[in-house]
Every structure is written in structure tokens, then in C-alpha cells.
């Protein structure tokens, strides 16, 4: 399978969904079953290929020098020296598999859950385009290629929220006009991300013009967008200096909006709440990871000195995010919005892990990303299915769900436990290890600060448990309200079961055998951390 290893495998994983999107568009509007089957086949093919990639991946190869495997490096836009350079390492592999996995499950779930105004053709095509953007971001090793994939996800998500989203009216904060939730959330999501990524692009260009190929055996004076080469130059301290602060700031703006970190998070509750179920799942499970992944892939290795000086600020913002999100969750009455806010908190733990700049912390961040992907993805599936049945997301009215729908209630209980970080389930590792890492951050970072943050973070885990249990109590327990009598509330159907069972297995599997993630990430993470250590001399 030489062709497969030389980049074709990864390229197929990335572009098959895009091809699928065009195939779906080519099918006449009336043939809905054919559209669904086509979308399913392409998503399945992409997922299976990503599993093959995971098996092809050589987990012990790091010693040989090249971190990135199964990739290729082809000419793309030679005039601006940007190349089609792709490849994966232990950091991107779990995220790549996660993205194809969640896409596949989303296609299955959506089979008979098309939100109004229906139109499966367009909806499926958008999911598939989104899949290409997400997978592409995780394999791109060229800043411009990365930028393009990073942005490709925006349009499908914009349409998904705007067309199929929540039709309840809201009053806009500043303009004092009422509009439908979906319209407000769609444009807000897009504008926030676009604002961040405009500055991110400026940051990329600034890196480009400060790079020098002469240092890595190329033409002296030539520039590059290649992440691998830039990482090497970053290790040599090429980018250190006054401008580096601003470059890091520009990148930070782009990535932090996407994560989202406090105080750039305000788009998230609106977008997640307004999006159709599958949209929320994909947003939470994958799109947020693009930001945190970018920190690990781009900001840290290329600008190690700046990463060190920004680390305290990032850690503080992360912990503010954790506490703030927990408190915000306690104030929610809408179940979906509560889950949305919980994402801000969980991503706070991920960012705290990254900010410690240690191998434990970054490992924690990656397993945290994967765990959050499956857990919060699952919670959004549940919230979607429940509001589909009850036609409300008000927790006060949902009480007694356990009695009305025992299986659904059981799954909700299980997933909520995972989300609050119960040991033995996936959510535990990310939170626990992030706190562990901040007990002992990278040498040179303020111990007292990080240990204070650790304590605050630990308070955050208690609050997380608090709001999750509070939600369970309100939604699952108690006696069903009289208003549901006579309603036909059918429990989990087979499409839902088909989509959810793999998620639940993953939650349990990662919880019991975290090695399936750490086994891939550890070597690559140590390599990143060693790079940072070497650059700042500790």
C-alpha cells in the first residue's frame, strides 16, 4: 500500500466527504433516501480510511527524526511559496479520527431527524463540506493550507445555524431589535471567527516574512509557510524579539476566539443553542478543537519564547473561563444552553493544560479535547432528541424524564457523569491531569500562580459536578409533569441508538483505557515540550 502511505490515504480521508457533498447535490431533490445513503457511504468511507490510517501510523517512529507520517508535500501555490503539505503525528491522529467518527455518527443520527425546513440534500451536503474542512485542518502542515481549511468550516456552519436553527425570537442586546435566534447566532458566530482569523492570517504572514530558508538548508533569504520548517526555525529563536509578541497576539486572537476562551466566548452559547442538533454536535465535538489544536501545533512550537511569557495570561483566562462557565451554568434554565456553557468550562481545562507547557499538561489537553468531543457531542445529541420529543428545552418542565423515557434518561445520567469527570469515564483524565500539570508547570513559570490556579481549577471541578448533578436532578428525577400525560413520548429509536452506541462505547473505552489516546500522543507531545525547553533553555 505504498500509494496509501504517500499521502493518498490522508488526502482521501479529507476530500472524500467533499466529493460526497457534490454527489449528494447531483441527486434529484425527490430521492431523499438516495441522498442519505450516498452521504452515509462517503462519511463511512472517510471514517474507515481514517481507521486504516491509524493502523498504518507507526507509533514508535519518532526517534527517526520526522514527526509527521503518511503525508505528502506537493506544489500548490508556488507564487506565494505555499505547498500542499499534509501529514499527521500523534497529536493530530486522535483528533482526525474523532472528526471522521463524529461526522459519521451525525449523518446516521440525522437520518430521520431533519430539522425544519427539512431539505436533506442541502443539509447533508453541508455536513460533508464541514467534514472536509475539519479533517483538513488536522492534517495541514502549511499555514495557508491550514488557514483555508480552518475557514472552510465557517460557511457550512453559518448556513446550518441560519437555515435549520432555532426559530424563537430574541431581543438583540445593543440594537434593541427582535429577530429570530438562528439569524442572530449565525452572524455572530461568523463575525467572531472571521475577526479572529483575519488577525491570524496577518500573524501567519508576519511569520512568513521573518522566516529564512537558509537556516534549514534551503535558499538563504527565501521564506516559507511550512509548519514543520517554521517549527525548526522557531527552535532556533528566529522569531524571538519585539515583533514576536504581536505575532503571538495575532495568532492568539484567531485561536482563542475559536476555542473559545474567556472573554471571546460569547458567540458560543448562542451558536450552540441556536444550531440544529447535528450542528451543535459538530460545533462542540470538532470545531472548538480547531482552536486548541492550533495552539499546540502552531503557537507553542513556532513561538516558544512567547508561549512561555504568555502562558500565565492564558492560564488565568482559562481558569476564569472554568469558574465563570460553571457559575453561568447554574443560572441556566435552558438545557441546551447549559451544555453550551459547560463547553466553555471544559475548554478552559484544555487551555489550562496547554498553558502549563508540560508533557502532562499537553497530553491532558489532547485527551481532554477527545473526551469533550464525545461527551459533549453526546449531550447535545440527547438535548436535541429530548427537545424533539418534548418541544421544549426548559429544564423546569422536563422533570421526571427518567420515568417517561428510561433509556434516554439512563444515557443522560451516564453522559452527565462522564462530563463532570467521574473516574473511569473519559472526562476524568483531561481535568485531573490538567490540574496535576499545573501543580508543576514548566520550570520558569510562576509556581505560586499556577498552584493557585490549580486550586481554583479544583473548585471549578466541584462546581462542574454541582451543575451537572443539578441538571440531572431537574431533568431526570422527580415526577413527570402532568402536561406530558397522553403525549406519545417514545424512547430512544434505532437510528439514535445506532448513532449513540459508538459514542457511549468511546466514552467508556477512553475512560478505562486512556492509553488509546496517550499511546498516540505521548511521544509527539514530549517532542513539542522538548522543543520548547530547548528554545527557552530550561
Amino acid at each position: 500500500m505504498g500509494w496509501f502511505e504517500s499521502g493518498w490515504g490522508l488526502s482521501l480521508v479529507v476530500f472524500l466527504p467533499m466529493v460526497g457533498a457534490f454527489a449528494v447535490l447531483a441527486i434529484p431533490k425527490a430521492k431523499e433516501e438516495a441522498q442519505k445513503q450516498t452521504a452515509f457511504l462517503f462519511a463511512l468511507a472517510s471514517f474507515l480510511l481514517s481507521v486504516v490510517v491509524a493502523f498504518q501510523f507507526d507509533y514508535g517512529a519518532l526517534g527517526d527524526g520526522s514527526r509527521y507520517q503518511l503525508g505528502t508535500d506537493l506544489q500548490w501555490i508556488s507564487a506565494i511559496s505555499s505547498r500542499y503539505h499534509i501529514g499527521i503525528d500523534g497529536i493530530s491522529l486522535p483528533l482526525l479520527v474523532l472528526s471522521t467518527f463524529v461526522t459519521l455518527l451525525s449523518v446516521i443520527y440525522t437520518w430521520n431527524h431533519f430539522p425544519d425546513p427539512h431539505n436533506p440534500k442541502a443539509f447533508l451536503a453541508l455536513i460533508l463540506v464541514l467534514a472536509t474542512g475539519m479533517a483538513g485542518t488536522f492534517v495541514a502542515l502549511d499555514l495557508i493550507l491550514f488557514f483555508v481549511f480552518f475557514e472552510v468550516v465557517l460557511l457550512p456552519m453559518y448556513f446550518m445555524i441560519g437555515i435549520w436553527g432555532d426559530r424563537n425570537e430574541v431581543t438583540l442586546p445593543v440594537l434593541r431589535r427582535t429577530t429570530e435566534m438562528r439569524l442572530y447566532a449565525a452572524i455572530k458566530f461568523f463575525l467572531f471567527t472571521l475577526f479572529g482569523s483575519a488577525f491570524m492570517l496577518l500573524g501567519f504572514l508576519a511569520l512568513f516574512f521573518r522566516s529564512d530558508m537558509g537556516l534549514v538548508g534551503g535558499t538563504p533569504g527565501a521564506h516559507t509557510f511550512d509548519i514543520e520548517l517554521l517549527t525548526e526555525m522557531g527552535g532556533m529563536g528566529v522569531f524571538a524579539g519585539g515583533a514576536a509578541f504581536w505575532i503571538f497576539a495575532a495568532l492568539f486572537l484567531g485561536f482563542a476566539v475559536k476555542v473559545p476562551m474567556f472573554p471571546f466566548h460569547t458567540w458560543l452559547p448562542d451558536a450552540h443553542t441556536a444550531a440544529p442538533t447535528v450542528g451543535s454536535v459538530l460545533l462542540a465535538a470538532i470545531l472548538l478543537k480547531l482552536g486548541t489544536y492550533a495552539f499546540v501545533r502552531i503557537s507553542l512550537p513556532i513561538l516558544p519564547e512567547e508561549a512561555e511569557s504568555w502562558a500565565p495570561a492564558i492560564a488565568i483566562l482559562a481558569v476564569i473561563g472554568i469558574i465563570y462557565a460553571s457559575l453561568a451554568c447554574l443560572a441556566q434554565t435552558d438545557m441546551k444552553r447549559l451544555i453550551a456553557f459547560s463547553s466553555v468550562g471544559h475548554m478552559g481545562f484544555v487551555m489550562l493544560g496547554i498553558a502549563t507547557l508540560t508533557d502532562i499538561g499537553i497530553n491532558a489537553a489532547i485527551i481532554g479535547m477527545v473526551a469533550h468531543g464525545v461527551i459533549t457531542g453526546m449531550l447535545f445529541f440527547l438535548a436535541g432528541s429530548m427537545s424533539h420529543r418534548y418541544h421544549t428545552r426548559e429544564m423546569a418542565r422536563l422533570g421526571g424524564n427518567q420515568k417517561l423515557m428510561p433509556i434516554m434518561g439512563g444515557i443522560l445520567g451516564f453522559t452527565a457523569m462522564a462530563s463532570l469527570g467521574l473516574p473511569g469515564l473519559a472526562g476524568f483524565w483531561g481535568e485531573f491531569m490538567a490540574l496535576l500539570a499545573s501543580f508543576n508547570p514548566l520550570e520558569g513559570l510562576s509556581l505560586s500562580l499556577f498552584r493557585t490556579l490549580m486550586i481554583l481549577g479544583a473548585v471549578g471541578t466541584v462546581l462542574t459536578a454541582g451543575y451537572m448533578l443539578w441538571m440531572l436532578q431537574k431533568v431526570n428525577f422527580g415526577e413527570p409533569s402532568a402536561e406530558w400525560e397522553g403525549h406519545d413520548l417514545h424512547d430512544v429509536d434505532r437510528w439514535e441508538m445506532a448513532a449513540w452506541a459508538p459514542m457511549l462505547v468511546a466514552i467508556l473505552g477512553i475512560g478505562v483505557f486512556p492509553r488509546i489516546v496517550f499511546g498516540a500522543t505521548n511521544e509527539a507531545v514530549i517532542d513539542v515540550v522538548d522543543g520548547i525547553r530547548a528554545a527557552i533553555g530550561v
Partner: protein, 505 residues
């Protein structure tokens, strides 16, 4: 002896202009005039190709840059690329006009005669290398468009459009001539090469002040043509009042011709005076982007919105010029800036023509340019609505649509210069590209997410076909925007060819 091969595009186009007039005299269906025009444009495109690929063709004697009439007229890779752009854009503009002119009682033969004459001016503009030729070319581009703007004779708005355009056009021509005369007076030269050589001696001398005034007035003249803020006031009214195909033509061919003149003047004649035009165009770029975008936010008429959008886009195109504001800007950096402008112009032509094609197609059905009336289009005309989204998001610069690359090279040019002023311009441009998204998205939102208004007969509209010529134009532009967005290398290679121009002859 005259190099007829080098002049072949112009000669064939001039022949087409005459042929169009002749066919108009015959008693045939008037759309044959358009067919002859399209054929002529296609025919003129062939020598552009043979000249471009001269080094690989056996019958062609490759002499590098071909100069004609002294140094007044040059055929080099820059002029060939731009000629190709003008001919291609005009081809699409004619396609847009056919259905529109057929749909009502318009004079048709004369319309194509005027449009092709104007294109001839644009093609000459690309090769002009002295003040007189460039002025003649510019007036040839503009003159016919005054009449075309007023083509809907019964409509007062169209008359207003024409009159405003005419008065401002004449004023800007006067300013331009005044500036050029001062430049000629101080340097004693008409050719760009000559001016550049003489300008070096003027610095620090008695004539410096006069020369400076000359340069600035020349820039001013072009600023009107490319509708840079604060010389843009004619643009929204003229765009809204003119027949929509004319607006498309104005916003692409005529505007690009203005930019080509500006490029030639700045990079050749005033090559060593970046300290004069750099700051001036920095200000114009920042103002055009900001004012154009902010004004566009408030528009409810889609054509007027695109009018302001094209002012803002003009600002983005000016940004690389403004980057030259930094002291000690090098040849390599100027080449980057030049490359960025040319690449932007090439991509802009595709997406803006496409946007107008959609507006004409939608306007045919709805008989309205109010954004509110476009609501719900995704329901009854999903194809058209999707193309609307493609072009508008391309204009907003969202990957993977071609517009992102235009924005990208623009940022790249600015950051390659570096320094505080350039960085400030980059930040202004970045903020503006976010603002711009709001109004482009507003139109898309209306078409995709709002319900169709009650007075729109959805069932009838769903059955209404799009004119074949318009379909052809849509397919051409949509394919261009998507393919160039995914493989921007194609356009970059073409832009790259023109780079040498920036360093002078």
C-alpha cells in the same frame, strides 16, 4: 515599420466595432449584433494568446517587450494579461447585456458599438506608456459609458445617473489634464520612461513644488475614475440608475482600466516618487475601505449595495499602493505590491461580474432590486441563490472561494513592506474585511433564511427560466471563482508574469 502582430488585438477590435455598426444597418434580428460583437471579442483574444505564448510558437518572432511608436506603446506580459482581462470581462458583459436589452425597448446596435469602443480604450490603456496615449485611452473608455449609463431613457434615475457621471467624468478629466500638463511642463517629457529619468533631477530643485502638484493632480484624476473615497460620490447613484449590465461593465472594465492607468503612472513614471503617491494612496485606500463598507451596511437596494461594495473593493485594491508609504521601499517589495494589485484585479473581475450576473438573473424574475424582495430565493430558485452566496462570499474573501486569495495577496504585499504605517493599513484592512462580511451576509441571509414576501409569486418564479446567454455567463464566472479559489496558483502564475513591470523597463 509597424509590428502588426503586436497591434492585432486592437486592430481586430476596431474592425469589430465597425462590423457591429454595419450589421446593425442590416435588417436582421438585433441579437445578431451581439453575436458579431462576441465573435469579434473572441477573435481579438487570439492574438493576445499568440503574443503571450510567442516563445513557444514557430511563426512568432520572440522579441521580448515590443515597443511601438517610440516608447509610447508597449506590448509586454503585463499589458497582455490586462488585455486578456479586458476582453474576457467585456465578453461576459456582452453576455449580460443580451437578455437585458431584449427584454425591453432599447437601442441595441448602438449599445454594443459603444461598449466595444470603450473596451478598445481599455485595451489601448494596457499598453499606453506615455501621458497622451493614456489620456486618450482613458477618455475612450469613459466617453461611451456616459451614454450607456443613460440607456433607460424613460427612467429619470437613469438620466440622473448619466448626468452625474458625465459631469464628474469631465471634471476628473480636467484635473487629470491639469496634472499631466504640470508634469510635462516640469519634466519636458511625455513618455513614462522619460519622466522617470527627468524626475530624478527635479528633486530638490526649483520645480519640485510644481512637479509635486502635477503628480498629485494626476493621482486625483485617477482617483475619480476608480471611485476612491472622497471622490466616490457619483458612484452609488450612477450604479443604481444605470441599466444593470452597464453597472457591471462600469464596476469591472472601466474601474480596472482606471487602476491599470494608475499602475502604469505610479510604477513607471513616478517610480522614484513613492514618497508622494505612497502616503496619498494610503489615505485613499483606508478611506475607501472604511467609508465604502460602512455606507454599504445601510443599503437596502442590492445594486446600490454593490456600488458601495465596489468602492470598498477599490480600497482593498489600493492597499498595496499604500504600502509603498514606507521609506526605502525596495524593488522587490514594490514588485510584491504590484503583483498583489494585478492579482486582485483579475479575481475581482470574475467575482464582481458573477455577482452582477446573479443580480440581473434575479432582477429578471423579481423586477426588483430591493434586498427584502429577494427573500426566500433558496426556496424557489436554489441554484441562483447558491450562486449568489458563492459570489457574495467570494467578495467577502471567504475560502475556498477565489476572493480569499485576492485578500491574501493584498495582506501579503503590505506585510512584506512592514513597518508601522504598513501594519496600520493591514489592521484597517483586516477590520474592514470583517465589516464587509456583514453586508454581504445580509443579502445571503435574505435569500436563504428569510421567508419569501407575500407579494412574490413563488410558483411562477420557480418556473421562470434564465436566459441562455446569462446562464453561460454564470457558468463561466462561477467556475472561475471556485476553481481559482481552490487552485489560486493559476491566477498567481499569471500575476507573477507581470511582476517585472514594477521594476521599470
Amino acid at each position: 515599420m509597424i509590428d502588426y502582430h503586436a497591434l492585432a488585438p486592437e486592430l481586430l477590435l476596431a474592425g469589430t466595432v465597425l462590423a457591429v455598426l454595419t450589421v446593425d444597418l442590416l435588417r436582421v434580428e438585433k441579437y445578431w449584433v451581439a453575436v458579431v460583437g462576441l465573435f469579434g471579442l473572441f477573435l481579438s483574444f487570439i492574438p493576445v494568446l499568440t503574443l503571450g505564448f510567442c516563445d513557444t510558437l514557430t511563426f512568432c518572432e520572440d522579441t521580448g517587450t515590443r515597443f511601438l511608436f517610440g516608447e509610447s506603446y508597449a506590448v509586454d506580459s503585463f499589458s497582455l494579461v490586462l488585455k486578456a482581462l479586458f476582453l474576457g470581462s467585456a465578453f461576459v458583459a456582452v453576455l449580460l447585456s443580451v437578455g437585458y436589452l431584449e427584454s425591453d425597448r432599447f437601442w441595441q446596435g448602438e449599445f454594443y458599438f459603444l461598449m466595444l469602443s470603450s473596451v478598445l480604450g481599455a485595451v489601448v490603456m494596457a499598453s499606453s506608456r506615455d501621458l497622451v496615449t493614456i489620456f486618450v485611452a482613458l477618455e475612450l473608455v469613459t466617453g461611451p459609458t456616459f451614454l450607456m449609463a443613460g440607456w433607460r431613457k424613460g427612467d429619470p434615475r437613469s438620466n440622473e445617473a448619466m448626468l452625474k457621471f458625465f459631469i464628474i467624468g469631465v471634471l476628473s478629466a480636467a484635473l487629470l489634464l491639469f496634472g499631466m500638463s504640470l508634469v510635462y511642463g516640469t519634466t519636458g517629457e511625455l513618455t513614462f520612461a522619460g519622466i522617470r529619468a527627468e524626475a530624478a533631477g527635479i528633486r530638490g530643485g526649483d520645480l519640485e513644488a510644481l512637479f509635486t502638484v502635477g503628480v498629485l493632480f494626476t493621482l486625483l484624476g485617477f482617483a475619480f475614475k476608480v471611485s476612491a473615497v472622497p471622490f466616490h460620490f457619483w458612484t452609488p447613484d450612477t450604479y443604481e440608475g444605470s441599466p444593470t449590465p452597464v453597472t457591471a461593465y462600469l464596476s469591472v472594465v472601466s474601474k480596472t482600466a482606471g487602476f491599470v492607468g494608475l499602475l502604469a503612472i505610479c510604477y513607471l513614471a513616478f517610480r522614484d516618487a513613492t514618497f508622494l503617491w505612497g502616503p496619498a494612496l494610503w489615505v485613499l485606500a483606508a478611506a475607501s475601505m472604511t467609508v465604502g463598507n460602512l455606507a454599504a451596511l445601510r443599503q437596502t437596494n442590492i445594486v446600490r449595495l454593490l456600488g458601495y461594495s465596489s468602492i470598498a473593493q477599490g480600497g482593498f485594491i489600493l492597499v498595496p499602493f499604500g504600502a509603498a508609504v514606507a521609506a526605502g521601499v525596495t524593488d522587490v517589495q514594490l514588485e510584491e505590491a504590484f503583483f498583489a494589485t494585478v492579482t486582485y484585479l483579475l479575481i475581482y473581475a470574475f467575482m464582481n461580474l458573477g455577482a452582477f450576473a446573479v443580480i440581473i438573473a434575479g432582477g429578471n424574475r423579481l423586477r426588483s432590486a430591493e434586498i427584502g424582495d429577494w427573500a426566500g430565493m433558496f426556496g424557489y430558485a436554489p441554484g441562483l441563490a447558491t450562486m449568489l452566496a458563492v459570489f457574495f462570499f467570494s467578495l467577502a474573501g471567504i475560502p475556498p472561494l477565489a476572493g480569499w486569495f485576492a485578500k491574501f495577496v493584498m495582506f501579503r504585499a503590505v506585510l512584506s513592506v512592514g513597518g508601522g504605517w504598513a501594519a496600520a493599513l493591514a489592521i484597517i484592512a483586516a477590520v474592514n474585511s470583517v465589516i464587509a462580511f456583514v453586508y454581504y451576509a445580509k443579502v445571503v441571509k435574505s435569500a436563504f433564511m428569510d421567508p419569501a414576501p407575500e407579494h412574490v409569486a413563488v410558483a411562477d418564479l420557480a418556473r421562470m427560466p434564465t436566459v441562455p446567454s446569462l446562464q453561460f455567463a454564470l457558468v463561466l464566472t462561477v467556475a472561475g471563482v471556485i476553481v481559482l479559489g481552490i487552485f489560486p496558483g493559476i491566477i498567481a502564475e499569471i500575476g507573477e508574469l507581470t511582476k517585472t513591470f514594477a521594476s521599470g523597463f
